[in-house]
Symmetry: C2
Subunit: 219 residues, 2 copies
Amino acid sequence: MGGHGHPYSPAELDLPGFVPQRLSQVEVVAPFVGTSLLLVLSVWLISGRCRGGRLSKTDRLAMCWWAFIGVTHIVFVGPLVFTPDFVSKKNPNYFDDLFKEFSKGDSRYAARNTAVLAYEAIMVGLIGPAALLAVYASASMKSYSHILEFAIGLVQVYGILFYFVTAYLAGFNFWASSFYFWVYFIGANSPWVVMPLFIVTRSWKKISEAFGAKKVKAR
Amino acid sequence: MGGHGHPYSPAELDLPGFVPQRLSQVEVVAPFVGTSLLLVLSVWLISGRCRGGRLSKTDRLAMCWWAFIGVTHIVFVGPLVFTPDFVSKKNPNYFDDLFKEFSKGDSRYAARNTAVLAYEAIMVGLIGPAALLAVYASASMKSYSHILEFAIGLVQVYGILFYFVTAYLAGFNFWASSFYFWVYFIGANSPWVVMPLFIVTRSWKKISEAFGAKKVKAR
């Protein structure tokens, strides 16, 4: 722990009344990873039986991602947004410790940096519920499902770009060590780059094709 | 001018080496508004003759917006992003004074707040060029034009939401007076709320319709 009573970087970050993390790294990470894996597996299996097995594998993969996103943003990140004093709470719960742990990879969470907080508030309030709607829309093959998936994916791409750009502009020194830089800041955020890019590209193609087909028909 | 040698709020904002604005409000605003009106009028008239007059009025209105956005972000906002010292430059040019004036409505521009800077950098680097592509795509009735317009509109909606949410979280005290709050912070930013929402709604409907039609056909 640094001279300022917390394990975060930069060491001069001031966190009055900081209460140290009680749970170990494994105790924090295991419930999150376990819940997520169980959820993804369930959605994969259930979606295989949806619509008499007519959903493609990429549709089902996208549904797993939306279910994961919806639950992650609402259940796991929600408490962060609604607990302004999570670093100094006298009786920290699991979610307080989850973000104390994650702050080792990006101390802007502990510092309640406005850019990061706005990013997460929009994710919790809009993207979480929209992602759950996307699971339903895909399962029911609604006509708006492609544009909804495109919309959520694009907001995620833009959001993560914003997250990295603000980190860069603000000094790029928010991780406790290179381990936390690679595993938390880069590693844990990378699915939010890869999956949305995949989904956005796919929906873009499907939508362009739909208009291309319409045009050919109109000729 | 406040005790800290600048006209911005909050008064304690520190801007070392601040060089006062040379141009008056009218000298700053008139070239921007004049250029924009001329551009919008040109695009409106030219688009009326495109494709033998087959473009609808809302298509043409959207094209005017994209042309305006493209030029505003690249020509007028571009210099802000690439001039880190615009408040202290010894020989300020028109663009430096433009943002000194606009900072009266939101001093985060003068302070180079990372959230605002990241927002504008993404607008200048991605949205400006994409908006010019949208003008071309609409004029040529490309099959990707609806999804492109939807994408740019959505990024704008999310961006302006982010802009207002970060302002709220950071204290909501960045305007020199209520005049600048209403005219610059709210007034000048409001087209970035209204027009993208209009475009996003319109593209969403068109895209859903295209898939609805496909589904009916497939039955």
